[in-house]
Amino acid sequence: MMNNIFKGKLFGLVVPLIAIGFGFLAGAVIMLISGNNPINGYVALVQGVFGDTYYFGETLQRMTPLIFSGLAVAFAFRTGLLNIGVEGQLIVGWFVSVLVGITIEAPMIIHLPLAILAGALAGALWGFVPGVLKARFQVHEVIVTIMMNYIAMHVVNHFIRNYMLESGQRTAFINDTASLSSDYLSTLTNFSRLHWGFLIAIAACVVMWFILWKTKKGFELRSVGYNKHASSYAGMSVNMNIILSMSVSGAFAGAGGAMVGLGTYNYANILPSFTNLGFDGIAVALLGSSTSIGIFLSAFLFGGLKEGANNMQGQAGVAPELVEIIIALIIFFVASSYLIRWIYSRVQSNKEGK
C-alpha cells in the first residue's frame, strides 16, 4: 500500500508536505541557535493567525493577491514558461486599476468591473511583451520578465510622482464606486482589511481550473507545455499558445494588483522597492504544484506565515524575517524533490532487500 502512495497521484502531495515539514524544522533549529524558544515562537505564530478574528481576516486579505500571483505563475508554467515577471505585471495592474478608480465616474456596477478589467489588461500587456519576444525571437522569458519588472516599477513611480501625487508618497483615494472594501467583511473580522477581492480570488481559482482542464484551448496550452514538438506536429501553433499563455498569466497578475489597489489600500503609492507579492507567487505556485486547490492552500500557508510573523515578533521576540527564511527553504526543498524521491527509493530498496 505504501508503494502506491509514493508512486501514484498522492506523491504530488507528499513532496510539498515533507518540504513544509523540513522548512519548519529548519526554522526551529534557527530559533534554537539564535537563543529563542522554538515552541514559544511557533505557538505565537499560530496564535498570530487564528488567535483573533482580526488576524484571521488579515491573513485572508494577505492571501488574496498571493492567490492571483500564484495562479499567474502556474498558468504560464503549464505552458512550459516561467513567468518571473508577475511582480511587474502586478504593479502595473495595481496602478492602472487605481487610475481608473480615481479618474472615472460611473455607477459601481460598471465602475468596479471596469477598474478590475483595466488592471488585468495592463498586466496582460506586460505579459504579452515577453510572450511575443519568446515566440518571435526565441528570447528566454525569464530575463525579459525580470527586466520588465524594473521597467514597471520605475514607470509607475514616474507617473505617480509627476502626475498623481496627492499626499506624501501616494495617489488620491479611489472613488467608492470602484472600491472592493467591505464594511460587512471588515466588521465580521474585527475591522481587518478583508475585502470582496477574497471571493474574487476563489472565483479566479475556479476560472483557471476551468480554462486549463475543461476547454479546448486549455488542452492546447498544457499540451505545448508537455511537448512543444508533438503539439506542433499535431497542428497546434506553439507560438500563439506561448503569447496567449503569457498574456493570460499577466492578466491574473494584473487582477491581483487590482485587488491590492482597489481592496487593501484604495490607492497606489511610490514603491521604494518591489512588493514581493509577485515573487512570492513563484513559491505559492511551486508548493501548490500549479493546481488551483494547491495554490489556494499554499497561499493560505504563506499569507498566514507573513501575518503570524507580526505576533511572533511581539509575543515571542523572534524577528519576522524567520518566516522569509522558512519560505525560501520550502522552495529549495520542493525544487529539490529529487532528494525526497531519492531518500524514499533508498528506504524502499532497503526494505525490499530484507
Binding site: 525571437f137 528566454h140 525579459v144 527586466m147 513611480n157 514616474h158 522597492s273 524575517e321 525560501a328 529549495f332
Partner: protein, 321 residues
C-alpha cells in the same frame, strides 16, 4: 568644451564607481553561466556579500585592525559568498532542481537570513555604520594628466581599479587557460566534455562557487564604499543589473565590462542629469529604465544577438542522451 569638461569630471568617476559592483558581480555570473548553471541568485549573493562585508569590517574594527578592516571585510564576504552559493550549487547541480527556481529561493534566503541575523545581533533593522572606510584617491602622476587625469584617475576608489584588473584576469582565465576551456566546454556540451574526462559536476560547482566569491565581493564593495552600513534595502536590484550586464555583454568579460560601465553611466546620469544642459528636461525615468530596455533589445537581436551557452539551465545526468 568649457561647459562639458567639468561635468564629465564628475560624471565619469561616478559612473566608474557605480559600475564597479556590477562588473564584479557580472564576472561571478559569467563563471556560473559559462559552466551551464543559470544564476538568478546573483542578487542574493550580493546581499550576502554586503552583509558579510559590513559585519566583517565592524568586527575587525573592534579588534583594532583600523584601516585594514574594510579589506578584511571584503575577504570575509568573498569566503561567505562562495559558501552561501553552495545552496544553489547543491540544489541545482546535485539535486537537479530547476536552476531558476533555486536562484529565486537563494535571493529570498539571503534577504531573510541576513536581516534576521542583523535584527538578532543589532536589535534593529540595520547594522552600525562602519568608521574605517576605503577612501577615494587621486592616482599619483596619472591624475595630473590634463583631461584624462581628472576623469579616470581622480577621486576614485582603489576597488574600482581592482575590479577592472580582475575582469581582465577573468578574460585570461576563461579564454586562455585549460581551466577556462574546461569550464566553457561543460557549459556548451557537457556530454562531450564528460567523454573527454572532464568532471562536469565538479566544474559546475567551481563555477557556481566562483560566482559566490565574485558576487560576495561585489556586494561588499558596494556596501563598504557607497552604503556604509547594511540593511534589507542596501542591495536593491544591483544583482539583477549585473545579470543584465552579463547578458548585454554576451557572456564575455569585456562585453560585460562595457555594459557595466554603460549602466554605471545611466545611473550617474539619472542622478546628475539636472546639471547637464540638454538633459535637464529629460525625465529621470528614461535613465532609470535604460539598462533594462537595452538588455531586452539586445536579447531580441536588435543590438546584436546575445547567444547564451548551449547547455545553460540543463542539469547533467551521466549516461543520459
Amino acid at each position: 568644451m568649457d561647459m562639458i569638461l567639468p561635468i564629465l569630471y564628475t560624471i565619469v568617476p561616478a559612473a566608474l564607481i557605480a559600475a564597479t559592483p556590477l562588473l564584479l558581480t557580472a564576472m561571478g555570473g559569467l563563471f556560473s553561466e559559462r559552466s551551464g548553471v543559470v544564476n538568478i541568485g546573483l542578487e542574493g549573493l550580493m546581499v550576502m556579500g554586503a552583509f558579510a562585508g559590513i559585519v566583517g569590517t565592524l568586527f575587525f574594527e573592534s579588534l583594532g585592525f583600523g584601516a585594514a578592516s574594510p579589506w578584511m571585510g571584503i575577504l570575509v564576504a568573498i569566503v561567505l559568498g562562495s559558501i552561501f552559493s553552495l545552496f544553489h550549487a547543491v540544489a541545482s547541480i546535485s539535486l537537479r532542481a530547476d536552476q531558476i527556481v533555486s536562484g529565486v529561493a537563494l535571493n529570498f534566503l539571503a534577504v531573510g537570513l541576513t536581516v534576521f541575523i542583523v535584527r538578532e545581533v543589532f536589535e534593529r533593522g540595520q547594522t552600525d555604520t562602519i568608521s574605517a572606510r576605503i577612501f577615494r584617491i587621486n592616482v599619483p602622476f596619472l591624475s595630473d594628466i590634463p583631461v584624462i587625469g581628472p576623469m579616470f584617475f581622480s577621486r576614485i576608489y582603489v576597488t574600482t581599479y581592482i575590479a577592472f584588473a580582475l575582469a581582465i584576469l577573468v578574460w585570461y582565465v576563461v579564454f586562455k587557460t585549460p581551466f577556462g576551456l574546461r569550464l566553457r566546454s561543460v557549459g556548451e556540451h557537457p556530454m562531450a566534455a564528460d567523454t573527454m574526462g572532464i568532471k562536469v559536476n565538479r566544474m559546475r560547482y567551481i563555477g557556481v562557487m566562483l560566482s559566490g566569491a565574485f558576487g560576495g565581493m561585489g556586494g561588499a564593495v558596494y556596501a563598504i564604499t557607497t552604503a556604509g552600513n547594511f540593511a534589507g534595502g542596501t542591495i536593491v536590484g544591483q544583482g539583477f543589473m549585473a545579470l543584465a550586464a552579463l547578458i548585454f555583454g554576451k557572456w564575455h568579460p569585456f562585453g560585460a565590462m562595457g555594459a557595466a560601465v554603460f549602466f554605471g553611466f545611466a545611473q550617474a546620469l539619472s542622478i546628475s542629469a539636472q546639471q547637464i544642459p540638454g538633459l535637464a528636461n529629460v525625465p529621470q525615468v528614461y535613465m532609470l529604465i535604460l539598462p533594462y530596455v537595452l538588455t531586452i533589445l539586445a536579447l531580441a537581436g536588435f543590438v546584436g544577438k546575445a547567444e547564451p551557452p548551449k547547455a545553460l539551465n540543463q542539469p547533467y545526468e551521466k549516461g543520459s542522451r
